[in-house]
Symmetry: C2
Subunit: 338 residues, 2 copies
Amino acid sequence: MAVTIRDVAKEANVSLRTATRVVNNEPHVRATTRQLVREAAARLGWCPNAHARHLVRGRTDRLGVILPDSRNTIFSDIASAIEAQAQVQSYDCLFLHSEGVPEREAKFLSLAMDGTVDGLIVMANVLKENHEIYTRLLEDRIPMVFRAGPETPGTVDLVAVDLEMAGYMATRHLLKLGHRHIGMILQEAAKERQTGRVDGYTRAHREEDICVHPEYRIYCGYRVKDGYHAMRCLLEAHPKITAVLCHNDQLALGSFRAARELGRRIPDNLAVVGYDNIELGRFCEVPLTTIGYSKGLLGQLLVDMICRRIKEPNHPSQRIVLPPELIIRESCGYAIRR
Amino acid sequence: MAVTIRDVAKEANVSLRTATRVVNNEPHVRATTRQLVREAAARLGWCPNAHARHLVRGRTDRLGVILPDSRNTIFSDIASAIEAQAQVQSYDCLFLHSEGVPEREAKFLSLAMDGTVDGLIVMANVLKENHEIYTRLLEDRIPMVFRAGPETPGTVDLVAVDLEMAGYMATRHLLKLGHRHIGMILQEAAKERQTGRVDGYTRAHREEDICVHPEYRIYCGYRVKDGYHAMRCLLEAHPKITAVLCHNDQLALGSFRAARELGRRIPDNLAVVGYDNIELGRFCEVPLTTIGYSKGLLGQLLVDMICRRIKEPNHPSQRIVLPPELIIRESCGYAIRR
DNA sequence: TTGAAAGCGCTAACAA
DNA sequence: TTGTTAGCGCTTTCAA
């Protein structure tokens, strides 16, 4: 069967202890002995068994990162940032895509319980179906940090973007451009837990004494096609709408085709604002005006938090809120004629 | 510390053996005893240690899937198909994104060596830097299957799409529409190992006795922005070009903005064809004409192959080639005026 | 139907 | 500098 470190020790005529010393780069081994063991390992093609190692060490130096949607590239961007910082902290990452399926998310959560990973970074969309499991994990002091809306309840480690401010900035931008009928395409899954965007939208309207139309809000899924259908419904139901705020860039991009099919031209007679600042938004035919935030900082904070939680399980929990930034490109055009 | 199955056995006043029988749903346990153990486990909040279990079992029932680019949604689609079939075969999947970085790919390959996964599905873009490692893995009979071009050498399990046919179909479509100056935006990384598209392109031209311009081919990276830059370069260098074949949809979508910046309107005076049939291609402003293939079948075959390889390490290797399909939408418009 | 005990491959406390 | 040995938490052979 597979060659073990015992075989290597035997081959090199040293004890098991010496062999492990060598393969783990521990000191107190004569250089010649070290060489001997190295050669034996290479000759036999020895490869350490991860399970044995993790079992005895009681840790894996591995982080699990639960992502909601593998098709939305914003999560790839954040994942990159997480991975970069994890490397700094000497951790490997396992990226896990729940795709909005509770059973999948639950399975990933069990990876923390069964020791496959040392801790979990959970990116948004905590599924309420798994609420019990989360509670249990938290009670069991399994290291976890969340990326979520600032309004998330509970005492957990968390980093968020100021969604109220994001909604406010985007809305104010549109109002200043002269828009008076601004729709919102929002994500159903975040309806209850992320009210920030709507709050900001409302505040911007109030500030200008402009009436808010709740019927201009439509809730949908998170896929590209959902953005398409949402835009169609919204525009067909409320043709007065001249601008739309989208929950994220993916939905915004999906909505472009619907606008065109209904005879709308972006930005000539329809303005669209996204959220996330994904790469494709810069390169689509009409570059997307959007809300951005520092993905690098987000990833870094998430990793640093989980690492601290792993090292100090009793450290008081912490929440950090990141500022959003309005990125003006072309999808809102210039001020509309009144 | 953590509660072990020993603790559970003690709590239930049974032996270790009986406890494992219960937690693994083995027969030969009296119903009342079973119940006793279950309750004890629940009371103690016992959770099996994955490493211990995998160590002794010698397997994990887990597959590693190496993907080249987390930002290209085609891989999300194929990953979904893989995961679905893996579930049928009772395997879990770990999705690993190499992002074109040799070190990352190498690290993932080691997951098969160290027993973290039972086998590996490698999606395209095998990095030549890791050629040695691949050779070693193959020699060590680590279960691996590849998704690659049909022209990939060696005796390995592999499933491919007929790229020559894909290139032929796309080119012929454009030629029939009247295009005579057809550019190609190709992926640098696949330049040497995937010549199929170019072969098909050439064949279609020959068939019509139309001259092939090698200078109409440009090679670039795989990101959206690479598609943008490639299209700019290509069109600026060769304004005669009226149609462009892209290595994949992601690149095609990235190229749209470049065309617009150069005063080209798709499809009015520029036709674009992609490859992969990603969701966004249906919903961008001008839906993308592209080459598709059965992602479901691709994923299924990949999984079935790796499972067979795991069960029968000495089974003769197999290669399967899937047929491509031309999906006509709007990005090529109608026949151009000559 | 139940249990005692060996051992998966590795690390690390302790001894020499 | 090197070696002996006891586990990590689990599965499984064999015996009762």
